[in-house]
Symmetry: D3
Subunit: 252 residues, 6 copies
């Protein structure tokens, strides 16, 4: 089975840097995949795209090195299994608030006897290889999002679920849930404290920890804090800021 570059980095004790896509274009996905990222997350939650487009984006990523990951819109087995079948090498699941949520999520991602993922030799076999079934449980990543006050209270239960590989932090939703607005990253001490607590508890339990960041610089800071995976903002952000700057330069 084709290696998962995320696992390769982690086995080498190196941080993973991943792109994040919310725009519905397989050509854009191919452009970004040609850069030197370790992974590309196709965001089916807040991205303006659905399953059909995600499959096309996975296809466009396949000729390049980054691992195709997906964030699902909700903790539902139907869409989780479908995206795995389509070749996703990892699932980021939003709003994992309890240990039961986390167990349900992991169960959908793993073949028996570990979980209850249904078997179908679909696109995953074309991307991963003919031995996909034997290695999928060890290759495919499970990342549970902690992004609410409720999840913070259930932190230890969540991180202890068997088969969970990593925790992923959504700073904006966590900040809103804690009573601050979005965009509070590196601003609100209470938010940073919560983030630090998640990082410590997860790594103690043997889980890697990823986090969405507002910029490349912030991603660098997170790596220096010990994070295992960072997202230096998304496609929309970079497109708007770069094109807006070019417009301003042209206007003079």
């Amino acid at each position: 089975m084709r290696d998962n570059p995320v696992w390769t980095r982690w086995r080498n004790h190196e941080p993973v840097i991943s792109a994040w896509l919310g725009i519905d274009s397989s050509y854009l996905a191919e452009i970004v995949a040609s850069l030197d990222f370790d992974a590309v997350v196709v965001d089916l939650q807040h991205g303006m795209l659905d399953i059909g487009t995600a499959v096309a984006m996975f296809q466009a990523i396949s000729a390049h090195r980054p691992a195709p990951l997906a964030r699902v819109p909700a903790n539902e087995p139907g869409i989780i299994m479908k995206l795995l079948d389509a070749g996703a090498y990892g699932i980021i699941c939003p709003l994992v608030n309890t240990r039961a949520d986390c167990a349900r999520f992991v169960h959908a991602c793993r073949y028996a006897p570990v979980g209850g993922r249904s078997y179908g030799p679909a696109r995953g076999f074309l991307y991963g290889g003919a031995d996909y079934f034997e290695h999928a449980n060890a290759t495919v990543l499970t990342l549970a999002m902690i992004e609410t006050g409720e999840a913070l209270q259930n932190l230890e239960g969540i991180v202890s679920v068997d088969g969970l590989d990593a925790i992923f932090i959504g700073p904006n939703d966590l900040s809103i849930s804690l009573g601050y607005g979005p965009g509070a990253e590196f601003q609100e001490p209470a938010l940073e404290e919560a983030i630090a607590r998640i990082l410590a508890a997860s790594q103690s339990a043997g889980r890697r920890v990823g986090i969405f960041c507002a910029s490349g610089e912030n991603a660098r800071r997170r790596i220096q804090q010990g994070f295992d995976m960072v997202i230096p903002a998304n496609d929309t952000f970079h497109l708007k800021s770069a094109y807006g700057a070019a417009l301003a330069a042209a206007r003079g």
Copy 2:
């Protein structure tokens, strides 16, 4: 009929700054249209998109100020008329090498008695308004690309065609045709001389002149040279450069 912001700028003797899109996503088009450009060119020649996607992109642009323009893949009346029907407020036609090419292009863009555009109350009427037919000939822009040595030889004939609004320069193709490689903008004196000659001859004949530029800074220089319309690079370029920079910053 809804105003064409390009004409508004030109009547005020101000330069037009336009975005340029080759990625097949109406959401991306909407994001870019929300910036402060005067126009958005949907590129059906080198862009990875076709008529159906172009229509969706025009729809996504419609709630915003920039004028929807299209570059067609070839000087063929079928696709030119279709994109005008779909609401394009201007057509950029590649490879106009002779006066006859230019006349054929303009003929497809204008209703009788000026030209031979076929009448159909399609999406253009939803975007432009119920009085579209009365004002279309005066509102819709015709931009002929001069990008070959052959076109340079026929320059005076091309710019004198009735109903032509503007010349658009493709520096890369022009450079290749003159024997230099792509990316020679502001590098090759002979190329710059040819560009200057096109600018002068076109403006003498009463035509505006637009040009594709490799960056916002280059676009500013072209405005200072007297160009009426500039394109500070395209979506792919800005996405790659900004996301690549963020990745580098994250890597540290």
Copy 3:
């Protein structure tokens, strides 16, 4: 944030008249949005369209006055949040049969601290504006469908849920659930009695009430009965009846 024309009508004590679309075409959506409706409902339950098409339809509606609303196929947070992110200014949720159903529905539609909607600056920000997050909870409509005998029994509990804006009646399903066939609108006294009871109980609890109607004339009658929102049939109905009539006229 851009105003919601539905709220504007209701604040002025005027009824809302909305279109209803089940055909999968953004061009059709744009044609209908150019008429003088207050809102356009994109029906993802019984309409032959899915999330990707719904986004394109919202884009096509955006340059026009009517508010984009969506009916979801089921009371699932994943699709509810996705359509809100895509710019829906209101969600109609089918088969709300209990107070718990209603609470779950409203929770998915509201940001914390009112609910648990996840934050992502997606298309809603392009349509609504940069201050979307601050005003979304007060702008976005929640409409719970009462269309079963079970819901009738739980009426008071349903209408008392905090954050619910309106009740929406599906007369055909309600009629079937009560033991009559579809098409019983204004025919079955027991059905009309149930409708009247929903209207009264909902308005007493401070909720507006909307209803699907078989024609413009029936919609007028519902307004006269005090309804706050009416749907004068859907796209399929009008297309078939008008085109069928033209065919008959041509046949003579």
Copy 4:
């Protein structure tokens, strides 16, 4: 090979009444095909749809009686042959202005030895049957549009081209070309005179004659004048008029 209901009507000396679709939805096509029309024209010229959508529309029409026809955007063999391969049972070609235009059009529609259509057992064989090749030349309709003053002058040459089945009149373009605006149908004596001349000359030469009409009533009048094929307006017109009327009825 499956019969062409248009030929059946014509062999019975009955007029053909056809629907006309410019909205990009296979579901809408299926709804309209379920009505009692003899044919459904998928309009790739002024319709907001392209080849891919046209194929889906043909598929949706196939379970119903009306013949699938297509209007092409231009007199180009590539798209004509593609739509025939996709199962179109007739092609309406716009802007046939000369005898040479007409010959070129017919040549693309007919297999050798009559013409130069390329052979490929594509969707046409699924729709028409395994004996498609043997009967296609006799089943598939060729309709040349006369809609300019130039075409009027070349009328006799156009109608005499071998393999041409019918002339189709576009009254709006013809009116514009003659110096009147669109919408002059049954208003301008000179336009009506030209229409009558085309009808007479075409039928003398053994060609049927079709015409686009603004309503079912106008279509009836054209039948009474002797036309062989009428179009009682298109999908957009009927959708807007019926839904607009329902809105007005609801407003009261």
Copy 5:
């Protein structure tokens, strides 16, 4: 209402042979539907297709004899009702592990008073006919998949649910759940024993039984064992094996 060819076979005590499609193409669906199958299953679970594509595939199947069936990705009422509205004449539901799972599934497929399916006169009426509502409960098939050890333990409860028409066996998942790998069909006695037990218990309870098979020959064996419905492998399998064989023949 149009007959369901599956019921026709079963009423005649004949086995049903169905195609199975996981490739996202309505043209491929049309090609396969033109063969002599009794049904065509559109697989939304392991197939690389989503709701929008499934609707297009149903449209393409409609002109041919086989019944359009769908396998859903999960036991969720939203997607089950949507596919029925789109014209599916039967639903195959994966991972039915308990009697409650089965009851929930059947409830979503049947109109009141039997179940809670929502009423909407959508594409099902175009395909089935105007009397769809009256006959749908008796025409539309419900097939529950038994494919886990847990389901085996709950077998009697599952097969006794009112309104269930058939059981469908997924041999690969069942084999994995029982501790064998995929591809154990006709190899593992314990697996065959479980299959035989499901067949006997289901038929005793008055349910038909279908099964996925690895080839036409295996399908024949299953018919001889008494199965009511067989699937002689899927589109991907046949495409790969036939095209691979042709390649080998060409290489020599």
Copy 6:
């Protein structure tokens, strides 16, 4: 620039065996590309697919070894250049009947100074590499189809055009043009004689020769005759024959 496996074979004096796709699915393209072919032809002439789908198919092929080729619907520079921009590593052009046809075709495929292909750093650069422009003229294949009696008469002129790499024979169209029906491959001596003459004349002029074949066995025979490229039938043929055979086996 990524190598073209077709050139690699030819430089090694080995025949090329290519798949041929007319079904509109990127997933099917990926399945076929995972087999051991040297190339995959995406057929935009008789295939039921258009430019947008072709791009998605190219993306799906990219992670696999076979070269992506395209057959265009007509000898038009717009679509030829677009498919090259999209990453096609070769163009098969139908109906090349004269030397002028051939020169026009080659001109569209080559950058200056050899031809007039327009420069745009689109998907071709992602697939081929950053040095695409320098090597494209030597890497991208031009294949002109000889398939009419007229082309036979102009054979020497056609094969002598500079920049032409290969001739491709369409036996069905050639047979029809010579007065025989389709399917005459290896049946009609006159057809075989014409094919042999094309083979000899082309190879004498230094051009490779490819041919479409009805089966793997026929492809083998053509290789033995000296052909440089063979197509062992297309996706539709193999899908129908294999699935039909499985159905027959199941029926017993």
